[in-house]
Symmetry: C2
Subunit: 385 residues, 2 copies
Amino acid sequence: MLNFSFHNSTRIHFGEGQIEAIKKEIPTDARVLMVYGGGSIKKNGVYDQVSQALCEHEWFEFSGIEPNPQYDTLVKSLAIIKEKKIDYLLAVGGGSVVDGVKFIAGAALFEGDDPWDIIAKQQRIQKALPIGAVLTLPATGSETNQGAVVTRNGHKLPFSSPLVRPQFAVLDPAVTLSLSDRQVGNGVVDAFVHTMEQYLTYSVNGKVQDRFSEGLLQTLIEEGPKALAADTKNDMEVRGNVMWAATMALNGLIGAGVPQDWATHMIGHELTGGHGIDHARTLSIVLPAVMKVRREEKREKLLQYAQRVWNIQKGTEDEQIDQAIEKTEQFFVQIGVPVRLSDVDLNESHIEGLITNLKQHGMVKLGENRDITPQVSEQILKMAL
Amino acid sequence: MLNFSFHNSTRIHFGEGQIEAIKKEIPTDARVLMVYGGGSIKKNGVYDQVSQALCEHEWFEFSGIEPNPQYDTLVKSLAIIKEKKIDYLLAVGGGSVVDGVKFIAGAALFEGDDPWDIIAKQQRIQKALPIGAVLTLPATGSETNQGAVVTRNGHKLPFSSPLVRPQFAVLDPAVTLSLSDRQVGNGVVDAFVHTMEQYLTYSVNGKVQDRFSEGLLQTLIEEGPKALAADTKNDMEVRGNVMWAATMALNGLIGAGVPQDWATHMIGHELTGGHGIDHARTLSIVLPAVMKVRREEKREKLLQYAQRVWNIQKGTEDEQIDQAIEKTEQFFVQIGVPVRLSDVDLNESHIEGLITNLKQHGMVKLGENRDITPQVSEQILKMAL
């Protein structure tokens, strides 16, 4: 196991009816900005529940955060924050809303020239508005971690600061019942690949981390399809298990003390930035190709994954690995996401542009060994055709 | 899954050489009291490392905390805290030292008549001195949780407060190399039974929690014996895995959203309080008996435990459960701890006194269903003869 420091201070309130916890979590004298997305929370009752919980607070709202939150939208919130003297941000939505609010939290108190520098120049945030989160779409884990991804002009870029980790997060699986199958499926795949990024590397004998990761993968494999099947999709236990797995998949715990990959994400970001593919659907396309191209570097962990997660015990090592990759793809197909570039109407002619963008974004040494050069990324994209 | 709130704010610094993290963790202007036990830290280099890390701090020391920290010892620290105007406590030791420091932290600022009321009357602590912990014995999980157990006149009693959760914890597996086999074995068993108390109840379909618990149990089963075997006991990976598993076993995570038992602990406390048996050795005696006496109530989880933790797939359900209980006992024996009251020279004549003490301490409705009455506890103790 590698040395590590771990800290996750977010207070979690999990379960049906927990939105009312907001009332006690946000200081009574706070001036709150509720930030949300396209307005689905007005149809599914979440907006009303949050309003009710905030009945003793002074609060305002800012909406219109897109999937893959856009810089140009986010900075528009700064005027109302200044005008209304907002000192607490409440994100109500999925990972995009939470990510967007993280950027707003830093940008509102940023003392540099241009808030875009937080991302473009990775300028360190010195202070940030406090954040609370009401999660409506289990997927990104953003509700308890310190990372965020923001998009500007087709460039999708990450930033991170302990100051933007939400102070509290409400996880009510009941609010996920109104999600579309596409949203649910994307969330399951996102959480699955988050886990794989921290698991499928090389072994440092981190037994707790490995077992926890395998537990999350197994949970998502068992519960993900149920969250989509007609007879089980409204089962609150299923929804709860998916939601808790998604949070645990990227709260820092399973990645503490082990190497991490993230090449699938970085390559996937270019598919979203350049071609507008849903984040999770870029991951389901890229991950199987990464498994194939990095087969030798990841051999030990691929075998462990085959045996422990998929319970594949028969055949040679190579046959077990083949089966595990195939089962991963079958799982993605079952969840309803694409597994090839051709599934989203992209072909070999698009690869050059994707590689150019990767280089432009400095993504030239990816993976747990920092050896996924643009040449290897190209191999991976070709494998994904 | 049950509704829950979860919060664990302790900052963790894990790995060799992390003791130096103390320097930055404790405010420079703090007046620190280093609290430790019988002085083993002076022989194994930990005292020197901590002293070095505190070289820029004003600090004092208080030693002599016993295994099962004694109230009478702990309150003696209050004089030096007052005299030296201590405002930060640094626990350096195992769970007993950390537990003792938790009590001191509350007692130092307690405004009631008698600090013993914190335990005896479960009076809520309103404030507490901040605590840091340097863990030397992986076992209790106390280094990141909010619970503690204190003993007075043979009565071993728990208390809990979020105010006494350590602000940071240093987990350096290298410092565990000087522990005796007995201490290491006790720690492995303690962590194992902590996990079982939160796992072996009735199912609420908490898939993440179950998988995480199973992962911890498997890790302890695999690594525990290696931490005792001559050829592997100095392996830092083994020590690291045991240490991280012990912390995760009782940091609140695996128990969030699931029913919890704790009958084994409460019955075990009477064996320690009344007969001075090491804490872990009371657990290894009581747990197998609890598994046998509560076999029907715990049937579903016993079967899951058999299949997933011990990979027992053959035989009838009852045969699988029998095997799982037998394997648990064999594991304890392998670790070098007793599994029967007779192993520690207790017999039927001692049971009445133990039950009297349980009643006196209000432990009359134990277990996840609150149905372990003194009569059932008596059955359990008889089963353990």
